[in-house]
C-alpha cells in the first residue's frame, strides 16, 4: 500500500485538467448554487436504462472518474428510485422495459423530474421503429429536459444537468 500512497502524493489531483479547467470552473459554480437552492445541497439521480446500447451508461459511469468527478458538485447517482429527485432515462423504451420504467418512476417521491439522455429516448438515434420499441418516451412520461448526443460525452451530460437546474 505504501507504494500507492507515494504514487498518489506524486500525482496529486488530476481533476483540474488544463483543457477542462475553465469550462468546469464555470459549470461547478453555477451547479453548486442551483443545487443548493432547489435540492438542499445535493441532487440525487436514479439512472434507468430502458434499452440503450450501453454507451450512455458508460458515459454516466465516466462521470465518476477522476477527470470529471461529478460527486464533488453535490450530484449523486443513487441505488433506489425512492432516494431520487430525478430519473435519468436512456434507451428506446423497449416493449419489455416500459412497465418497469413506469414503475420506477412511480416509486420516486414527488416533486420529481425526468431527464432523457442520448438520442434513443426521443427516437433520434439510428434505430428505427419496430414491434419491440415504444419510444419516444414523451408518449409515456413527462420529460423536463433532454440531453442529446449518441452518446453525449460526460461534459455534455454535466452541462445538460446544469441546464436542467436552470430550467426548474
Amino acid at each position: 500500500m505504501i507504494k500507492f500512497w507515494n504514487k498518489r502524493a506524486k500525482l496529486g489531483v488530476i481533476t483540474e485538467k488544463p483543457e477542462l479547467e475553465e469550462s468546469l470552473k464555470k459549470i461547478r459554480k453555477e451547479i453548486k448554487e442551483s443545487v443548493k437552492k432547489h435540492f438542499a445541497g445535493s441532487l440525487a439521480i436514479r439512472m434507468v436504462d430502458s434499452g440503450s446500447c450501453n454507451a450512455c451508461e458508460a458515459e454516466c459511469n465516466a462521470l465518476s472518474n477522476p477527470y470529471f468527478d461529478l460527486e464533488r458538485l453535490g450530484i449523486y447517482f443513487v441505488a433506489s428510485p425512492r432516494h431520487a429527485d430525478v430519473m435519468l432515462l436512456s434507451g428506446v423504451m423497449t416493449f419489455n422495459m416500459t412497465p418497469h420504467v413506469k414503475e420506477a418512476y412511480a416509486q420516486i417521491p414527488s416533486p420529481k423530474w425526468v431527464i432523457s439522455v442520448g438520442d434513443c429516448p426521443m427516437m433520434q438515434a439510428p434505430y428505427e421503429r419496430t414491434y419491440a420499441i415504444n419510444a419516444p418516451v414523451t408518449e409515456h412520461l413527462q420529460v423536463t429536459h433532454h440531453i442529446a448526443g449518441c452518446p453525449p460525452n460526460p461534459l455534455e451530460i454535466m452541462e445538460g444537468l446544469l441546464e436542467f437546474l436552470r430550467k426548474i
Binding site: M1, K3, F4, K7, I14, M47, V48, D49, S50, G51, S52, C53, N54, A55, C56, E57, A58, E59, C60, N61, A62, S64, N65, P66, Y67, F77, A79, S80, P81, G91, V92, T94, F95, N96, M97, P99, H100, A104, A125, P126, Y127, E128, R129, T130, Y131, A132, I133, C150, P151, N153
Partner: protein
C-alpha cells in the same frame, strides 16, 4: 466440436434451421405447416436459449425440449405472434393481460427466493436474476434477460447493407468496433474484395483500443465490487485516457462509424507516448493490486467455472480462457505476426478472469505498437452481390458471430450471436458454491453485455 449458434431463416417454401459448430455447420429444412424440430440441448445445453428464441421469433416447436417457456416474449407480450416471420409487419404492440413467468425455483423448508432487477442499483443495463437461497448460500440462480430487446433482426430486414451500418455499430456500445469488423468482413465477402493490409492494421488497432478501454474499466470495477474503490479510481483514469485516444483517432469516443475503407492520419509519436505511459501505469497497478491479501481472499476460489463445465456450455472469450480453454478468434497468422499471444488461466475463478484481463491488456499494448502505421490507402468498394455470408470477430468479451443474407440487394435475414449470449448461460454454474454477496463480484468479473445479448 464446439457449438456456436443455432438460428432460423424463413424461405419462401420452408424454414431453414442453421446450426453452426466450429468445424462445420448443419442445415435442416422443415415445412411451414406445423414446423417442429428436435432439440440439440442434450449434447449442447447452451442451445436452449437459441431454441426458446426460435420458438418466440418463428413459432417453431421444439419437440423434446426440457424448457419450453418463452424467452424474449415477456409477461405482457401478445400471445401467438411471431415477429420474425415475414408476414408479421406490425410496428406497435398492445400489451396483453399479464401472464406470470414460471421461474426455476428450488423450494423447501427455509429456502427463499430473492429477485434482483431488471433495474439494478448501479448504472448498468437491465436484466433479471432470480436466486433460490438457503440463508446466504445460493442454491440456484436463473438469469432472465431480453428486457432491452429492440427487434434489431427485424429492423435490419429490407435495408441495403450500407444503410444497416449505423444500426449494427450500435448493437452493443462496448463492442462497437467488433460489430463493425464483423460487418466489414461480410461487406467484403459480398463485394468479393480483399482488404489491404494497411486497413486491416488500422481496424485491428481500433479493436485493441476498444478492448483496452473495456478491460481497463473492468480491472477497476472488479476490485470495486470487492470493496476496494481505489482500484476503480486508478483504472477509470486510464480508461478515460484510452477513450480520449479513441476519440482522437476516430472522432468518436466509442468509435461509432470508425471502421471504414479509408485510412487516415495517426500521430504515431503521440500514440507511442500514451502506450508507454499506459504500460508503466499498468505495471504499477499490477504490482500494487497483486499485493493486497484481503482482495485476493475475495477473488480466489470465488465463482469457479470448471474447464469441464466451460466446455459443456461452449463458453467463449475471457470467461473461457480463464477456465483453461484455448480459444480466441485472433489466433490467426495476421495477429500472430503482430505479437498476439493467448492469455490463459486454469482456475476459472474471479481471480483468473481478472488476471486474464490484465494479461490481455499488456498484450494489446504490444500489438498496438505493431499496428501503428502512417498510411492513406483507400479501398474503392465494388458492387454488392446477393448471397449468404458469415463472419467472426473477437470482441473484448469474446467470439462474436454474425450472419447476413442478401437477396435482391437488400438484407433478407440478419442474425448476430453476441459472446454474452453463450456466457450468460454459464453464469448460474459459477454461483453454486458461493454466497449471494459474491454475486455482483462474479457478475462483474464476466462483464457481459445485455444489449448485445437481447438484440
Amino acid at each position: 466440436m464446439r457449438f456456436i449458434a443455432r438460428f432460423c431463416k424463413e424461405k419462401s417454401e420452408c424454414f431453414e434451421i442453421i446450426t453452426i459448430y466450429d468445424e462445420h455447420s448443419e442445415k435442416e429444412e422443415i415445412s411451414k405447416e406445423n414446423p417442429s424440430i428436435k432439440t440439440i440441448t442434450k449434447k449442447n445445453p447452451a442451445g436452449i436459449w437459441f431454441e426458446r428464441k426460435m420458438h418466440d421469433d418463428f413459432g417453431i416447436i421444439i419437440k423434446d425440449a426440457f424448457d419450453k417457456r418463452p424467452l424474449v416474449h415477456q409477461e405482457r407480450f401478445p400471445k401467438d405472434i411471431h415477429p420474425l416471420r415475414k408476414d408479421f409487419t406490425q410496428h406497435k404492440l398492445q400489451e396483453a393481460p399479464y401472464l406470470p413467468y414460471k421461474y426455476e425455483e428450488i423450494r423447501g423448508d427455509g429456502v427463499f427466493q430473492v429477485a434482483v432487477g431488471p433495474i439494478h442499483a448501479g448504472i448498468i443495463e437491465p436484466g433479471h436474476f432470480q436466486f433460490s437461497q438457503a440463508g446466504e448460500n445460493m442454491l440456484h440462480l436463473e438469469v432472465r434477460h431480453f428486457y432491452t430487446h429492440k427487434g434489431i433482426e427485424k429492423m435490419l430486414e429490407g435495408k441495403r447493407l450500407e444503410d444497416a451500418k449505423p444500426i449494427i455499430e450500435r448493437i452493443s456500445g462496448n463492442e462497437s468496433i467488433a460489430y463493425q469488423i464483423c460487418y466489414r468482413d461480410i461487406y467484403l465477402q459480398a463485394t468479393k474484395q480483399e482488404l489491404p493490409l494497411s486497413l486491416q492494421k488500422r481496424h485491428a488497432l481500433l479493436l485493441e483500443i476498444e478492448r483496452t478501454i473495456h478491460h481497463l474499466t473492468d480491472v477497476g470495477f472488479i476490485p470495486n465490487d470487492a470493496g476496494f474503490g481505489a482500484a476503480l479510481s486508478f483504472a477509470s483514469k486510464l480508461s478515460e485516457e484510452a477513450r480520449r485516444k479513441m476519440r482522437e483517432l476516430t472522432g468518436h469516443r466509442f468509435g461509432f462509424g470508425a471502421v471504414s475503407f479509408e485510412n487516415s492520419f495517426i500521430d504515431i509519436d503521440g500514440f507511442n507516448e500514451w502506450l508507454n505511459d499506459l504500460e508503466k501505469s499498468l505495471d504499477f497497478f499490477e504490482d500494487w493490486i497483486m499485493d493486497i491479501p484481503s482482495l485476493w481472499d475475495r477473488f480466489d476460489t470465488t465463482g469457479i467455472l470448471s474447464l469441464k463445465q466451460a466446455v459443456k456450455y461452449a463458453s467463449v472469450g475471457v470467461v473461457a480462457r480463464a477456465s483453461g480453454i484455448k480459444i480466441d478468434r485472433r489466433a490467426n497468422p495476421f495477429y500472430l505476426e503482430h505479437g498476439f499471444r493467448m492469455v490463459n488461466e486454469e482456475s476459472g475463478d474471479v481471480g483468473a478472469r481478472f488476471k486474464v484481463r490484465l494479461g490481455e491488456l499488456k498484450n494489446s499494448i504490444e500489438m498496438m505498437r505493431h499496428f501503428l502505421e502512417e498510411d492513406d490507402t483507400v479501398l474503392e468498394v465494388a458492387k454488392i452481390c446477393d448471397g449468404e455470408y458469415q463472419s467472426f470477430c473477437e470482441s473484448s468479451m469474446g467470439e462474436l458471430f454474425m450472419s447476413i443474407d442478401i437477396k435482391d440487394g437488400v438484407i433478407e435475414r440478419f442474425f448476430a450471436r453476441d459472446p454474452s449470449f453463450m456466457n450468460w448461460q454459464a453464469v448460474h454454474i459459477m454461483m453454486q458454491k458461493d454466497i449471494i454477496a459474491d454475486f455482483p463480484l462474479i457478475n462483474k468479473s464476466c462483464d457481459l453485455s445485455y444489449a448485445g445479448n437481447d438484440l
